[in-house]
Symmetry: C2
């Protein structure tokens, strides 16, 4: 019998989540049953989309239940196996984050491919955030040669990959981030024009200064004033991949308003939201391209790693205050 600790949703957050919406509980984990493995998580992911699951409403993802452990992306090591498909020491990926140790059917976890990447890369650049960037830029925004690309939250887990894929493809890239350190990182990864949104009174003016001839593609991670800026700066037939709107995830009544939707008529813009799980057909192409780009040193990544299950909720909260930098992870072992 092993003891694990896991993070429960204690109460549903209203507005910005607070530490006391969460609690850490100890549970006993028996030996794995037939067909099961026991996994010790090495890293778990915290992602903005999880905020939506904390609300009790119909959405593309079922809500977390109160008084139960939450879940999400994690990578871990098999510590005991009762199934021939996996053996002790195998590294696996699962949706069983927010806990230290768990039992699960062997077929519900995925063995990590041995491509020489650290395991936590499969929660970031080589995982869901990376695939999100790839799908959004190449399929949803239909990236073309000579497109000028704007990406918001460009130092974030998804944004930093968007920016670098666009640079690999030879596009001009404008990125926004908050603060000098994140903006310096954007310059380092080759972003052509950097907007420090915390230092700008008017993001629209800053974007038009950065892209006086307009933008063709906008990869939206923020919504609100960033989306307004992109609508104002878009060229005719611009394409927007709507990936997330973190500015509004904690809105209690109304989200950040958008005033410039009228530009989408006159400029024939296409704005398209997407959920990466509907585009898993692109995973093989993504893994092929991304392994090559990583091997060639063409993609740099930044991550923030907090340690221990007791700090998992705090790591999640950092996503909304901008206190993380790049992919936010929690190291569990």
């Amino acid at each position: 019998m092993t003891t694990s600790r896991e993070v429960h949703l204690k109460s549903r957050p209203v507005g910005m989540p607070k530490p006391d919406n969460f609690e850490v509980k100890s549970v006993d984990v028996p030996a794995p049953g037939p067909g099961e493995v026991q996994v010790q998580n090495l890293f778990m992911s915290v992602d903005p989309y999880m905020r939506g699951r904390m609300m009790d409403r119909k959405s593309y993802a079922a809500p977390f239940n109160l008084g139960e452990a939450m879940y999400g992306g994690a990578v871990g090591k098999v510590v005991a196996s009762n199934d021939p498909s996996l053996k002790q020491g195998d590294l696996v990926q699962s949706m069983m984050g927010w806990r230290e140790v768990f039992n699960a059917p062997a077929k519900s976890v995925q063995k990590l491919p041995g491509v020489g990447l650290p395991p936590q890369a499969f929660l970031g650049v080589a995982g869901m955030p990376g695939l999100t960037a790839y799908v959004g830029l190449l399929r949803i925004a239909e990236l073309k040669a000579d497109d000028v690309v704007f990406v918001s939250a460009a130092s974030g887990a998804v944004g930093q990959i968007v920016a670098q894929i666009a640079k690999i493809k030879g596009n001009r890239v404008i990125g926004s981030a908050g603060g000098a350190e994140k903006c310096a990182f954007l310059k380092e990864i080759g972003v052509d024009e950097v907007i420090d949104y915390k230092a700008e009174a008017d993001i629209t003016k800053a974007l038009i200064r950065a892209a006086p001839d307009g933008i063709d593609v906008y990869f939206d991670n923020v919504g609100g004033a960033h989306l307004d800026a992109a609508l104002a700066a878009a060229k005719p037939f611009g394409r927007f991949a709507l990936c997330g709107m973190i500015a509004s995830y904690n809105a209690v009544e109304k989200a950040d308003p958008v005033y410039n939707m009228m530009f989408s008529v006159g400029k024939s813009l296409k704005l398209q939201g997407f959920i990466v799980s509907n585009h898993s057909d692109m995973l093989p192409a993504f893994l092929g391209d991304m392994s090559k780009w990583l091997a060639e040193g063409k993609i740099k990544t930044r991550e923030t790693i907090d340690e221990g299950i007791d700090n998992a909720a705090g790591a999640f909260l950092k996503l909304f205050t901008g206190d993380n930098f790049g992919k936010m992870l929690v190291k569990l072992a």
Copy 2:
């Protein structure tokens, strides 16, 4: 020498246009030169998109010049011809509205097809508004069998055609309009659920009541709270044709805000603006279908006709107060 009267833009409107932004001027029209025809306009169109041309800004359409006659769709009769391609009495369509009589190169006007429709139909159901409905619904919103369709300003020039094409295709249609008379007309043309937006405190609640299982397609002529309602009520993978946002055409500083764009991410919505002139490849198919539907009595239309060039500016202003009903026309002869 003939005398014509024409409407000039005297000053650029700020906010809601006022009668004194316009003035009627008399001009002399000489005999048509070589290759030219002289046309007496029978009807001219006033359309919401003209509001944009009254502003001096870069857009898909060049702005009207101050102190010159405005222009727009018109149908008229050739009264003198100096070109073999057209003869006296021919009915033609042109972009030379806002005036009574004009000379123009014969090749710059289009002879109306003899399909048994009254000439003003080519400014409405069989013209630009009809084609706009057809393109927006079938190409931009990719209408499919079983789609639930919501159209705003559904009694308007474009909206009434959208609603009826969708009914012909067998779809369930929800339409919004302002006031009992317009709503009664929507029932008459087969709209399944009618929302009188002037009688509803909350358009979102009204739409969810009308479409408890959600909408698949939204044809937006209004923007603002109507767009928010459609975002809230949309099913996953909903498609929005953004055709116009009349709620915001006269905004001085900021347009009507939209708060619900975040739904476009979670529900993988596609919102696409369009300008009908970029889709003229669909004109033959449209004219084929529309002639058939009109001949079969499947399309009813409502229009408001004001008389005389002196009332043209007033007719235009009615578009923004809702005092028109259906296609707004000015009869000039």
